[in-house]
Point group: C2
Chain length 527, copies 2
């Protein structure tokens, strides 16, 4: 497969004529060939029309066929081989091992959703058989299943050029649910996007899925992204990115006549709470692990630990000394784009100059353009409480330690935090009684609570929640990682007194699909 | 229990001082004693503060205790006895048998949610055990459960003074999920609201639930309703009412800093499709059943059949003749409020005067004030397609029959319809091939598809969907009737590597609550 700079509209490769962009080599800052033509409104319209045409057929594809399609995408991505890895490394500035790992995660995610589709639990089949003899009124026969919402607009994320981009978690879960997908590629990795897009496009053809099941659009400004969210054929949005861009999409969606869900994963500082016994027993070990998590991937993770809360005293001083020493040893790392690097340095400079912030340590110096230096800061609880800007995410390897007078102050600060993707507590058994006071506050504002670890490393699993109250995501009732993510793209439909011959297979009495169902309120496992 | 006209703020009865309202006897138009004092902003604030204080305790009440609380509410409502029935009949103008039936439904709903709570499936417990030996990286231990969203604002509905009001479906499902509830009573039945509110307030005390678990506010204008939706402690909204009021609440919610879900059930004309074989074989029988459904409860149901689509011809003429004859026999019925009656008569007058609408029949004349006369109209497919106002709901016993040239025209019209709570198809076996073409279009815009029946009579069941795409509801991913309604008020939280001693009971390894769980992706039923 070759990178040509084309839009993929259904099975066609189309040259976009709405200006063009080039990728930038993250490590050198130099533009890369080829140029990618931006989509016009007509291209967007064509992609959405195809997606709409595909919807009824694709959503009723058999579970087996849809699972095979997801697996074919995985195979086709692997078949891109080193071309994909090399292009992705150049575009993202991320190390080869990370990109290979991310490819494994992307492929694993597609295969997990293939299993989820085959299993059929997501159909949520329920049957309440009719009771014709019931008094005073007979009970009708009611059967319920989930169906796909409709075509989904997916926005590629800059920081996961494979796992949260063209065939990443949002696309995999939407396709698994039965939704056609129109992807708006991220301008930071257009070549990676086209290669993966070609892999999906090929799988659509190989598996005989309707043409409009998948399209891929490029566009440098906001026109195409906003146009997708406005389009009446788009019924949900999957987005990972900044708070500014996410809230903008939320507001565009809420101005539509018809409400559609926007699943925007936006902003989180992922508080880490150090409790007294753990800090006394393991200050240095926790500090070392913390810095490892902080600088991983140049700190460019949604779950990056950006905030440490702890009670002031000699044990916290030990933690700070060890963390500072470790951070100073951390080499600068190439960031995803010049723009992200610039924003990071500006935010770190603002923190450095802030009257209430003390700089504790900086990582090693930049050795080439576009490298971010890690940063560790501290402040007081009072300053943190009164300066809202100290709660803002700095995207990159920067963290703020807040010295609290006591645990009650620390709990007050937790209650002042916005919604978060993750929070972490470091505890020993002697801390259990105290941490119990904190858990309700953490549950209320967090999607995932980590014990003696950090939020980075988001396992693709059944029990994973990568989500959380606003502003960490637009809709805290959902997750964008793990098998539960499929639920975002479904809605229930009930069938009353429908003859067997007309019922969808998942609801027919003899259960031809062999799916688990709730019958008369009782879970009934398929044999 | 006595009707005093007080607000119920936690365990207190408070005299509202923000002007006052009186109920109106629907049948006579006369005001009824006592006056109900409207809530001030301070009252609203007190109710929300109490709800917030109650939240952490109430949401972690044991499943058994919460189920017993729901059942206590049911018992206390029944103990109100005839006082409740009589007041409710006077305020609503609905017949005694209907109100008694609605009380049964309300009590049954509370008991169903008690069963749902005890059963524990709504917790959605999932466990992915850690795999410390996994290569290249160990897998962490992940456990997931649903927790309550937070305090919920519930708006009483005019047309279900018991089943969708103070202790109706929204309140029951929110309380079942673990959410405290602040109810804004509907001004059409304040006495009914206070009585039921007192029953809930008493159950809170009897069951030792935290005081703020329930509050009830009165208010004549929009101030209190809008204030609730704006309050930062309110985390979800349950509403049944008009499209205008519902979209207003949606827009207030979307202007909040933090997104909250608004579950507004608003507007639906519930299309009924008559297929050729069924029409040929059973025109008169279907017509009779249709008119029964249309005039039930003076047509004041969200699922009232307001639109008939059928192919023009002699069989449709037979249907129209039979329906017209039946409708003319239908006596006028007292409507819920003078305002609703006035709006109904105005809408019927507009239809009567519409150049593209033909009046087929009117029901019997009004015998007393505030009685609505049923109305049956017809129009052409062309007029229906080109006049958007013909798709607007007329709240009351009015329906429009659209004569279609053929089934393709009928399908085109279906594709032009907005989202609906229900749709119905009347079919015989000879129609199956044709109806298959319609089902995808119906699924896309309907929450429940009824075969050979009508949408009225919404069974409280596990497989019920009372919801649908906008504008039938604000969020088509949900239902407001049936056990699935509890999902509206939950969000998932994941716990990573949490020690057994700190895990919520539903996720502890020995499963002390005996709930069904998904372990490593496999449904694992409690013994």
């Amino acid at each position: 497969m070759q990178i040509c700079g084309n839009l993929l509209i259904g099975q066609r490769a189309v040259r976009g004529t709405n200006s063009s962009i080039k990728a930038v080599n993250a490590a050198t800052g130099m533009p890369m060939e080829p140029a990618f033509g931006g989509a016009t409104q007509a291209d967007l319209n064509a992609a959405c029309a195809l997606a709409w045409d595909a919807f009824d057929t694709y959503r009723e594809s058999s579970l087996a066929a849809r699972a095979a399609f997801l697996e074919a995408i995985a195979v086709n991505i692997l078949e891109l081989g080193d071309d994909l890895i090399e292009r992705c490394v150049s575009e993202s500035g991320l190390p080869r091992a990370r990109i290979e790992g991310e490819r494994g995660r992307t492929v694993g995610q597609l295969r997990m959703f293939a299993d989820v589709v085959r299993n059929g639990d997501f159909v949520g089949a329920r049957i309440d058989p009719g009771l014709p003899e019931r008094k005073p009124m007979p009970r009708v026969d009611l059967r319920l299943r989930n169906i796909a919402l409709g075509p989904v607009a997916v926005f590629g994320a800059s920081n996961f050029p494979l796992a949260f981009s063209v065939a990443g978690g949002d696309t995999a879960s939407a396709l698994a649910a039965g939704c056609p997908v129109v992807v708006k590629a991220h301008s930071a990795h257009p070549g990676t996007s086209e290669l993966v897009g070609l892999a999906v496009q090929k799988a659509v053809k190989e598996c005989g899925m309707p043409e409009g099941t998948f399209s891929l659009l490029f566009g440098s400004g906001r026109e195409i992204g906003q146009g997708l969210v406005k389009d009446h054929r788009i019924k949900a949005v999957g987005f990972t990115g900044s708070r500014g861009a996410g809230t903008e999409l939320m507001s565009i969606a809420s101005a539509r006549k018809e409400f559609i869900p926007v699943y925007a994963e936006m902003s989180s500082i992922n508080p880490v709470l150090l409790f007294p016994a753990a800090l006394a027993n393991r200050a240095e070990a926790i500090a070392k692990a913390f810095v490892q998590s902080l600088v991983l991937g140049a700190g460019q993770f949604c779950t990056n630990p950006g905030l440490i809360l702890a009670v002031d005293g000699p044990d916290l001083d030990r933690f700070i000394a060890a963390a500072s020493a470790a951070l100073e040893q951390a080499p600068a790392s190439t960031m995803l784009t010049p723009g992200i690097h610039k924003a990071y340095e500006a935010a770190v400079a603002r923190a450095t100059d802030h009257a209430e912030i003390r700089t504790l340590a900086r990582g090693g110096p930049a050795a080439s353009p576009n490298q971010g230096r890690a940063a560790l800061f501290s402040t007081t609880a009072e300053a943190f409480r009164t300066h809202a800007e100290l709660q803002e995410e700095i995207f990159g390897a920067s963290a703020l330690i807040v010295r609290c007078a006591d645990l009650s102050t620390m709990l007050d600060l937790v209650e002042s935090l916005e919604g978060q993707l993750t929070s972490a507590v470091h505890i020993d058994e002697a801390d259990f009684a105290e941490v119990r006071r904190f858990l309700p506050a953490l549950e209320r504002r967090t999607g995932r609570i980590v014990v003696n670890g950090f939020g980075t490393g988001v396992e693709v699993a059944h029990a994973m929640v990568h989500g959380g109250p606003y502003p960490s995501t637009a809709d805290g009732r959902s997750t964008s990682v793990g098998s539960l993510a499929i639920n975002r793209f479904l809605r229930p439909v009930s069938y009353q007194d429908m003859p067997e011959a007309l019922l969808p297979a998942s609801l027919q009495s003899d259960n031809p699909l062999g799916v688990n169902r709730l019958v008369d309120g009782k879970p009934t496992l398929a044999q």
